[in-house]
């Protein structure tokens, strides 16, 4: 395939990058059909036409950006290897399922060959645009060919297409972009149709054709056809099209799952990349400490955002500035942190108050009163991950906001979740009185993620196991027996997918038979204790019967029973 673009037509050059890819594919997959070539062609023709007629600024802009991006990556068409095209921005930036197992590695090797150039500084300055550009890039024709090649691994394109629809106001353009971009299965017929239109035009399946724009009337004709399809396509796009995902699971990796400890050790060994730069960045943040103090004292509260763990930064702030003053550190990422525990530590440790409160609002009222009475009281509250699972609730945020609005309570918090600002409505925002500081640290979230039941570590369950044994060790022998009974029953039923739990009556019966309880009340008292420690969960079934369940996965439970047996 020749490259007709030459020097004069930059747009064409970009267009035809995928062709190289196609060539490569032909070389690799000899069993490819001719049709692929055609579809490839169609894509490029479309693009070209669009360029020429300058229909949509948006589109052109996006293409331009894409081009810039490719150029910035140093992977232009002039690349002698001819491989650069496969790394369009979209593939690097968006979370796509890899099409082939070796694809990623290939990408990586390509990138490794051109390491110095891959930083695109101007793009990092306009992340919005770059975030958009990959969307456009996502389905370059090379992709398309690939997907044609391996039908089973097709990513869902629905949202993308919907967006397209929104951005393109012109129906003609719409259908156009629809076509150049569409790649999901159901478009196969359309693709064929398009290719027949082209062949009807008697365009040879050679790239030369691309340089002569197809006459407008054919396009118009096509347009008419498409208009009818538009409605169908709308519903198609909105219907829940089947999303196909790969069947490759982690089990197939032949890799045992790591537990928390080994993971931690391994990560310690892994060198932190760009340590010097990150350190410099952090030092920059540290220079803000005195300013933070000033602003905290002026009645603002400070929230830190940005990528990277901000725990160390806050710790440093604490140790360097807050040594002398009363402060409270809240590890929001800790899975069992509750609002009550925060409030309790304020009332008990800071205010030295002994006694309980009926509800958090009462407690808050008490704290407010105390702080208003005694103006010399000052408290710094540091919250790591204000947006964590446990503190995310509306009520806890409300109370924290009210707490932070006290003039003598200074709050400095960090947020990580991308949607964290949605937590707060206007009322809460005005209570919090935030000043935002971007503190991108790039440091790994070691502490924060260690408590999270990560997708890949969760089966190890060492944490759950240790907490189980800890709690049970503090209980009476009978209580342990009760728990064992439940655990054994659950394990026995582990293959039963409709197992809802052990009903209370049955459980009572079993416990009685094992001489563990003498009345239904004692059992209930035991269960309350379990529930308080989150060892069991109760669910009411459809028939109104209470079902008991241990919310721990089976392997952990088996481990636990084993250990118990050893102990006895």
């Amino acid at each position: 395939m020749s490259r007709p673009g030459g020097q004069g037509r930059d747009a064409l050059e970009v267009k035809f990058v995928p062709d190289e890819e196609v060539l490569k594919h032909i070389a690799e997959y000899t069993g490819m059909k001719v049709q692929k070539n055609k579809t490839q062609l169609v894509g490029s023709v479309k693009r070209f036409v669009k360029k020429l007629e300058n229909i949509s600024d948006d589109e052109a802009q996006e293409i331009l950006e894409e081009k810039n991006y490719v150029a910035a990556l140093g992977l232009c068409t002039q690349d002698p290897m001819g491989n650069g095209s496969s790394v369009s921005g979209g593939e690097v930036y968006s979370f796509q399922t890899p099409k082939r197992s070796s694809k990623m590695a290939e990408l990586a090797s390509e990138l490794a060959q051109t390491p110095g150039q891959s930083v695109a500084p101007d793009h990092s300055k306009c992340p919005d645009k770059t975030a958009k550009a990959p969307q456009n890039n996502k389905h370059t024709s090379s992709d398309k060919v690939l997907q044609r090649n391996k039908k089973k691994e097709i990513v869902s394109t629905t949202p993308y297409r919907l967006r397209k629809r929104l951005t393109a106001p012109d129906p003609y353009l719409e259908s156009e972009s629809e076509y150049s971009a569409s790649c999901s299965e159901e478009d196969e017929e359309d693709q064929k149709e398009v290719s027949t239109v082209l062949s009807g035009q008697e365009t040879p399946a050679k790239t030369k054709a691309a340089s002569t724009p197809p006459p407008r009337n054919t396009l118009a004709k096509k347009n008419k056809n498409k208009m009818g399809n538009l409605v169908e396509e709308y519903f198609e796009a909105h219907s829940s099209s089947k999303v196909l995902t790969s069947d490759r699971t982690l089990q197939k990796l032949r890799k045992r799952r790591l537990n928390q400890q080994t993971l931690h050790d391994l990560l310690k060994k892994a060198p932190l990349a760009y340590a010097a730069e990150i350190k410099e960045l952090n030092q920059q943040h540290e220079r803000l400490f005195s300013k933070w103090m000033l602003q905290l004292h002026l009645g603002f509260n400070i929230v830190l955002y940005g990528l990277g763990s901000k725990r160390d930064l806050l710790e440093k702030f604490r140790t360097s500035v807050l040594q002398e003053s009363v402060h409270l550190v809240v590890n929001g990422y800790f899975p069992s942190i509750t609002l009550r525990s925060i409030l309790n530590s304020i009332t008990e440790d800071v205010l030295n108050h002994i006694g309980t409160f009926r509800s958090p609002p009462d407690q808050l009222e008490f704290i407010i009163k105390k702080f208003k009475e005694d103006s010399s009281l000052e408290l710094y509250v540091l919250i790591h991950n204000l947006d964590s699972q446990m503190l995310r609730g509306e009520r806890s945020q409300q109370i924290l906001a009210q707490l932070s609005s006290l003039p003598s309570i200074y709050l400095i918090a960090s947020i990580d979740h991308i949607n964290a600002p949605l937590l707060w409505d206007q009322a809460k925002l005005s209570l919090y009185n935030w000043l935002w500081y971007e503190t991108t640290t790039f440091s790994p979230y070691v502490e924060e993620t260690s408590y999270e039941n990560s997708l890949l570590v969760q089966q190890s369950g060492s944490l759950a196991l240790s907490s189980l044994t800890h709690v049970l060790r503090s209980l009476t022998l009978n209580a342990r027996g009760i728990f064992r009974l439940l655990a054994q029953y659950q394990l026995k039923n582990k293959d039963n997918p409709s197992y809802a739990g052990l009903s209370f009556q049955d459980f009572y019966q079993q416990c009685r038979e094992a001489f563990l309880v003498n009345s239904d009340l004692t059992l209930r008292a035991q269960l309350t204790e379990f529930r308080d420690h989150k060892l069991i969960r109760t669910k009411r079934g459809a028939d109104g019967v209470e079902y008991l369940l241990i919310p721990v996965d089976d392997s952990t439970l088996a481990d636990f029973l084993e250990k118990e047996d050893e102990d006895i």
């Binding site: 990092s124 005005s430 979230y445």
Partner: protein, 578 residues
């Protein structure tokens, strides 16, 4: 009589607390000690409402009384059942009490209030209350209205019609409704800008961009005056933190004193100011040397410049208000209806060079006489009340215009007489040639007369105003040492008030290297020649661990979540997710 009132408010939420708090404070001080503030979220049922109501009323009773009665109230608080009768009993008890016991403290408090002060209940957000609760409460309390004078205040965000749609007729007929409209948040903003920014007595000023950012946040984000004030506070903090020469940003007298005692370093800071450099360059060479080397001379000049700046501000604001009088009258408001828009335009650059100004002048040249006269009168008032000293001439000039307008009126009468007489003359003539000639003359004279009298004067007035504007409304950044008073770094403000964490994340992740770290295969490829290892079965432990970390980090950041459909699968949540 249950006289019930309604306050009508706009969309704004955050400032309402403040409004209601100050309202209840005013009421408490002037009318009645018995006030309860109720919010919808506290009152899901009539019982909670009563509890809350009584709790607040009893508490306020404690506040009014001194601690001697506290024991009694505490007991009763525990004892009482929340019902209307107990409320009435309580009310009778408190209203009678001052007569029987009358401690000195109480007398003072009761003297401020009526003999039997009404109980005021404020419903902060009427729309969110459940209708049943409201209905029940109104019906019940209307039964007891003779024993318990009750005033309800409803806060309504939408339209007053809502009260009829929320309450059925038989309930709303029990109310005697009076409507009060609270000021809109825009009015509050105008007041604040007027009182804070447009006062010469207040040395700290906002630059054009900063003001624009603050106003934009107000108009497009929250309508919250509180937030505007917060932004303003932040500006002050930032200004005094980041600008070293801001030591001189204070009242003129203090500023002069401080300028006198500047250290050498501070003098250097002043020399570094761009506006000061410009000033130096405009001086003759000997002076330049003196300014750059001799500290005492610099201090002298600085004092003089500060004084200039002060005078400039005084004049500036008066002329600005004057110009606003004119522009706010014009159709379509080319320079904006509000004074803040005009202020922004004037701060930004030389306003007389803008098209808007040109068109507004043109429009001003077409104003009718009565409008023009009223405007001139307003301007005279502004200048008379202003603290600027240079405006004596201006006031005189404006007054002269006014008298000329008056004269014009008188002349107009005479003119009418003249025209009438000339017409009479006209009738005498019979000669065609003469007739033609006189007609032409008449026409000529008429046209020229009109131009000379009213229109000429109008032109003069407009030109005069124009000259005032050109003289006094020079943008601040043309002034020497403006950096002392003006805070101009809008980016700081935007960063801290209107942050975009999403963008920060995107930016950070857009660094390709960082992103590449995320996937073990890519890591492998980047690290060495064994690029094919990813596909082989033996994945390095470390890389596996790093992959795990990357995945859990992504989960923490909210980019992915485990999908329940399949094992080991995650769903993408952002960037065009499923």
């Amino acid at each position: 009589m249950a006289s019930d009132q309604i306050r009508n408010k706009g969309v704004n939420v955050t400032d309402h607390d403040l409004t209601f708090r100050s309202l209840s404070e005013v009421l408490q001080n002037n009318i009645t000690p018995y006030i309860a503030l109720l919010e919808a979220k506290d009152c899901p049922g009539i019982k909670n409402l009563m509890q809350k109501l009584m709790g607040q009323l009893m508490n306020c009773y404690i506040d009014v009384d001194s601690s001697e009665d506290e024991d009694y109230v505490q007991v009763s608080h525990n004892r009482i059942r929340c019902s209307m009768t107990s409320l009435i009993n309580w009310y009778e008890h408190v209203t009678k009490k001052p007569d029987s016991e009358t401690p000195s403290k109480k007398r003072t408090s009761s003297s401020r209030h009526w003999q039997s002060p009404p109980v005021v209940v404020v419903f902060k957000d009427m729309e969110s209350f459940s209708t049943k609760v409201l209905q029940d409460f109104i019906v019940i309390s209307s039964q007891h209205i003779h024993e318990l004078p009750l005033v309800l205040i409803f806060g309504i965000a939408t339209s007053p019609m809502i009260i009829h749609s929320l309450l059925p007729h038989f309930v709303s007929s029990l109310l005697c409704i009076e409507l009060f409209q609270s000021l809109s948040c825009k009015d509050h903003l105008s007041t604040i800008i007027d009182k804070l920014l447009l006062r010469a007595s207040f040395p700290f000023k906002l630059g054009e961009k900063v003001l624009q950012v603050l106003i934009n946040i107000f108009l497009y984000h929250d309508f919250s005056v509180q937030n505007f004030i917060k932004g303003f506070q932040l500006c002050i903090v930032e200004h005094f933190c980041s600008q070293p020469v801001s030591v001189l940003c204070c009242q003129l007298v203090d500023a002069k004193k401080r300028a006198d005692s500047l250290s050498h370093d501070q003098c250097e800071n002043i020399r570094k100011l761009p506006s000061f450099r410009r000033y130096v360059e405009s001086q003759v060479s000997e002076k330049q040397i003196a300014l750059l080397t001799v500290d005492t001379y610099l201090k002298e000049i600085t004092q003089k410049l500060l004084e200039d700046l002060h005078v400039y501000h005084e004049n500036y604001l008066s002329v600005l208000r004057c110009l606003h009088v004119f522009t706010s009258f014009l159709p379509k408001y080319p320079l904006g209806k509000q004074i803040r828009e005009l202020y922004c335009a004037c701060l930004e650059n030389q306003v007389w060079e803008t098209e808007e100004y040109e068109s507004s002048l043109q429009l001003a040249r077409m104003l009718n006489k009565s409008d023009l006269v009223t405007m001139l009168q307003q301007c005279v008032e502004i200048f008379v009340s202003s603290s600027g000293k240079e405006f004596d001439n201006t006031v005189e000039k404006l007054k002269e215009f006014l008298t000329q307008f008056q004269k014009l009126e008188e002349e107009a009468f005479q003119e009418q007489d003249v025209s009438v007489s000339s017409q009479k003359e006209l009738q005498k003539k019979t000669d065609l040639y003469h007739l033609q000639k006189t007609l032409l003359e008449l026409k000529e004279s008429r046209r020229s007369k009109k131009l000379t009298k009213f229109e000429m004067l109008r032109f003069e007035v407009v030109d005069y105003i124009d000259s005032l504007v050109r003289n006094y409304l020079v943008p601040a950044n043309h002034k020497t040492l403006h950096e002392i008073m003006y805070f101009n770094t809008a980016s700081v403000l935007r960063e801290h008030l209107n942050a975009a964490p999403r963008i920060a994340l995107h930016t950070a992740l857009n660094n390709p290297y960082r992103y590449l770290k995320a996937f073990s295969t890519v890591v492998m490829g980047a690290e060495g020649p064994n690029a094919d290892a990813a596909s082989s079965d033996q994945v390095d432990d470390i890389i596996h661990a790093r992959f795990i970390r990357a995945v859990s980090e992504l989960e923490l950041l909210g980019f992915i979540k485990p999908s329940k459909q399949k094992t080991d699968h995650v769903a993408r949540l952002t960037w065009g997710g499923c």
